[in-house]
Amino acid sequence: MDNKNVIICRCSDVTMEELYDLFDKGYTSFEELKRIKRVGMGPCQANTCGKMVQWELAKYLNKPLEDVKFQNYRPFTLGVKLNAIKEASEDEDES
């Protein structure tokens, strides 16, 4: 399989090859991978790539899936326009 052409994270266009390069460099947790490569930080918030990354990590580390920690989730789940927050907070100040 040519790992250059296998997309793992389609939001941030991260390939299987890039993922394994990072594994080899020692980045073997989702939290690290997402900070370095933005995998799982796009619109799908790891709902598509997350399970695949977890699977590949389990294979690479030779661990059961249960032992590969998944990423943490924080607000917001979607992009929110700054203007929407600004308008809402102005409303809050007045009310």
Binding site: F70, Y73, R74, P75, A84, A88, D91, E94
Partner: protein, 367 residues
């Protein structure tokens, strides 16, 4: 938005208007609580909106009625409660906080809801698999194909490779054929077909080959999928060089299972546990569907991937418990809960539900 609407106070908020969420809403309304249902889609119903097939399961959970017809019944049930049941559709929950504040976006407007009780019924998302050129146009998840075909009447392609033999893969294959689309082959990575044999036989009778221990190696095409290469898998699920075969298809439909959508549960601080048999991370719920955060409940596929029938029963149960905790007296509560629990036990009694039973056992939930 009106002035002063920045932080709305609500009694019971249900996130997700699929089979579980709609049933939870009904239980809460029945008990007298004010309910707000939030769903990111325009049409309520979750997966029911595209399920044109008839249900199995039990008569009480509408066996032999089509999913889209069940949806009409569930929505109709809520209509009689009028404004007691508020519906916020096309509304996305973007954040959920420990103090039961729900951050929402609707029509580019941002607002928050402070709820006394929250039921999370967000369902699941589709899993995917890695293969070469998996970003070519023409590669869909099975749910997307169902949405295109059954909800919007759009044909996804002419010649399809179906990947995955779970019930969704089998049912969508049949629906594709009904729509005049050729299902060229169905491949399954496991050694045996994973969905109901009755669904598998139906498409096999119509001439679809089901290949087990086979997967997609790569998609081939310039602007879109033109061909696919399949290969056999060994007992460690690795592709075997030299076993490749090429098929001419213009569409690949991926149906390799679902994973619970637990992001909101994790945001609110509810403990989750990875249970393979239930599809991934699931909330640690007690026997009353309450998560480890007081006043936050979960039901349906977000608690473990099952059928819509069980989701409906779980929804009804969690609604009753949430209403009770809000201080409402429910007529005949004990009998209702007992009957629903028996119903759930029946739905999970068959050999196909062995995995589900094992999963809940791991989670420590009595079923």
């Amino acid at each position: 938005m009106e002035r002063g609407m920045y932080m709305r106070h609500k009694e019971a908020v249900i996130i997700g208007a699929g089979p579980a969420g709609l049933k939870a809403a009904k239980s809460l309304c029945e008990a007298g609580a004010s309910v707000t249902i939030i769903d990111r889609n325009k049409d309520l119903g979750g997966q029911l909106t595209k399920q044109t097939h008839k249900f199995f399961g039990s008569e009480k959970q509408y066996a032999s009625v089509r999913g889209i017809e069940i949806l009409k019944i569930l929505l109709n049930d809520l209509l009689e409660y009028g404004t007691q049941c508020e519906i916020l559709n096309e509304t996305s929950v973007v954040g959920l906080y420990h103090d039961k504040v729900i951050a929402c976006v609707k029509d580019d407007k941002f607002f928050k809801i402070k709820a006394e009780s929250i039921i999370i019924a967000t369902g699941a998302s589709e899993k995917s698999i890695p293969f070469e050129n998996n970003d070519l146009p023409g590669i869909y998840a099975a749910g997307a194909v169902q949405t295109l075909m059954n909800q919007y009447g759009v044909k996804p392609g002419d010649k399809v490779l179906m990947v995955g033999s779970g019930n969704i893969g089998l049912i969508v294959s049949y629906q594709l054929m009904q729509a005049g689309v050729e299902v060229v082959k169905l491949v399954e990575a496991a050694p045996s077909i994973s969905g109901y044999l009755v669904h598998a036989s139906k498409i096999q009778r119509l001439g679809v080959d089901i290949l087990t221990q086979t997967s997609i190696k790569r998609a081939i095409g310039k602007e879109q999928v033109e061909k696919v290469e399949l290969w056999n898998l060994d007992e460690t699920w690795q592709g075997m060089e030299g076993s490749e075969q090429t098929l001419e298809v213009d569409t690949v439909c991926i149906s390799v299972g679902l994973a619970p959508l637990t992001e909101l549960l994790m945001q609110v601080g509810a403990e989750v546990m990875y249970v393979r048999e239930l599809g991934g991370n699931v909330p640690k719920i007690d026997h009353r569907y309450q998560t480890t955060v007081k006043g936050v409940y979960a039901c349906g596929d977000v608690c473990g991937i099952e059928e819509a029938s069980s989701a409906m029963v779980e929804g009804a149960l969690s609604g009753i418990h949430a209403a009770f905790d809000l201080g409402y007296t429910i007529d005949d509560e004990k009998r209702k809960v007992k009957a629903l629990k028996e119903e759930l036990k029946f739905l999970r009694s068959g050999p196909h539900a062995a995995k589900i039973r094992a999963g809940y056992n791991k989670l420590g939930v009595m079923i």
